[in-house]
Subunit: 405 residues, 2 copies
Amino acid sequence: MKNCIIGQSGGPTAVINASLCGVAAKALNSEKIGKVYGAINGIQGVFNENFIDMSTILKDDEAIELMKTTPASYLGSCRYKLPKLDADRKAYEQIFEVFNKYNIGYFFYIGGNDSMDTVDKLSRYAAETGYDISIIGVPKTIDNDLMETDHTPGFGSAAKYIATSLREIGLDSDVYDLYSVTIIEIMGRNAGWLTASSVLARDEHYKAPHLIYLPEGEFEDEKFFRDIKALNDKGIKNVVVAVSEGIKYKDGTYVCESASSGLTDTFGHKCLSGTAKVLEDMVRTKLGYKARGIELNVGQRCGAHFTSLTDIEESFAVGQAAVSEAENGGTGKMMIYVRESNNPYKISIESRDIKNIANGEKIIPQSWIVNGNDVSSEMIEYISPLVEGQPKLRYKNGLPVYLKR
Amino acid sequence: MKNCIIGQSGGPTAVINASLCGVAAKALNSEKIGKVYGAINGIQGVFNENFIDMSTILKDDEAIELMKTTPASYLGSCRYKLPKLDADRKAYEQIFEVFNKYNIGYFFYIGGNDSMDTVDKLSRYAAETGYDISIIGVPKTIDNDLMETDHTPGFGSAAKYIATSLREIGLDSDVYDLYSVTIIEIMGRNAGWLTASSVLARDEHYKAPHLIYLPEGEFEDEKFFRDIKALNDKGIKNVVVAVSEGIKYKDGTYVCESASSGLTDTFGHKCLSGTAKVLEDMVRTKLGYKARGIELNVGQRCGAHFTSLTDIEESFAVGQAAVSEAENGGTGKMMIYVRESNNPYKISIESRDIKNIANGEKIIPQSWIVNGNDVSSEMIEYISPLVEGQPKLRYKNGLPVYLKR
């Protein structure tokens, strides 16, 4: 009987541990799987043979429930990128030596785009070398930008946090009788799903956010001012604007580039921040209004005090399904959600070849963008079911209790 | 029978409407009070005779419950400062003309330091001119910096939001195996109560925030680096730092001054922001660590999705008590909390002369600051009971429902 390793990689989410829990709980009960190891800091834990026996963590139902609602990667994470297979095989040899030493027949990697690149490369190496192993990717990203899957685990909770924050900031920004613009910067480099989810803040009473700018559109300063003025003309004095950190001008430069540090991360992505502050300055200078730029920041991905029960349950289920897929001999796959129906909301979980997913990026269809400053009703129908339900948290001294390694 | 006016003023909180609700519900049931008017945008609503009949808003128990958990000033707010009484009496004459016109015998003003200045001036003017009116201040501020009262309505909910966010950010910042410093900027210009409340994020499992810097202390760059290095020496790689937006150097200049805009608000306060970003840059440049500055921003005052039930109930009660005080002929007073005991936690509500409160500022005693980078156990005992209890929210489509004017 072969053993298994589970790793978490990339930026954490509020529900990535629900998936860890789904994989581990199912693997611990599997008749085909022996020991269940958690790799500390993702693939780095494999290099360093730094493992934790998951049976010592998920000791009882209480531990499982607590793990499901604990934010941030319980096992730790990494941003390690494997070299190209044909360029340098040394890292691969090292990894598979460890796999061999620990009799590993199952490897589950919970992560986003960059992590699926690791799943792709490792499964191709295994196939080439004839190493018998099931390598399965479990999706995770608040960004909702993974290919093939209807949506990603972590997105629904982030969307709920964002929409609720926008509703609250909308009320907060409306208390003074003056002209103001409040700009809320939301995560999302190239895909605007998170920013689009701010639309859920609206209903018959709340009109904020009044404007929504996505990275899939082209941002234009003059149109931005016209959009604000048009709202003023309709009697709306306090304008609330949701913008993606990654909004760009027609020539492809990021709006924030004047203010950002020019740093890049280990994957070569530009570090973006300051979009809201740039627009705040712009509004203050050009329109003379009171302006406030707000970065929602990491609360979007770690705000476990306020998540979607739907998201947590699905994230747990997709972890379990990954184990079933591996038990049935699948490899080189990522698990995906398929939306069966929207009313009532129902999904199923399937798997897809990782090669069609790794390094891809799902962005918002142009037909869902309205006037360059709003989203369509399809977007609302798409996101709405993902934020439903409130999980029960455990409290101690008034604060939520989370599991700590 | 005389009528009453209620106004809200200054920055909103997550529970200022619980106090509005307490005043209005009690006043509507009072045998001594006739009509209950809400002034739109605080004292500006009095100038403009822009009133709302509160009996049309608080129609039933459901409306009352919804109002209690609605963030941001329901009636709107203002930052209007009355001129000095001996300098210009015109504004006063205008206000009291309106009071006379609407047969006002009771004026309740819910706000912070600057609003209590208004209560002080109006009650002095009434005394001087012999106008028969009860003018009562109802405290409100997340900053907890009002004199005389044990704590302020709004502080407990903000403290809970901050401590919970710090706990979550602490977990989030700890996922990578590298040296990093995460700096969380918390509101509080001269009083560090909110920043101090981050200490509740800690318990036997969570060590973040590792460092807490308050405006009551003297910030020193070199000591900051030494504090970080000392933690590194103890094996703590990912350091989480809670800082007040108002931390200052020995010479009195704000740490953020290099980055802030130089703008001042209508009360002449400097607009502070960017402290976390300044420290982020400092850490990156001087220590070469990964660094992230996070401004918790307006969520601290409007995060109604996650408040303290204790705070909401007390805020409602202090509003009710203000009406009792007025019924008994009190004027020129602010209601205060008196802590009767800490274990079990018990408060009573009394009133104090406004002249000892207006324009004062309660800061943290030096004896509660430890090593210039932490707070004492007295602080923990003081804040802990204020964050207890979770209010029941109403949800629709997965999001909290709030009352909108």
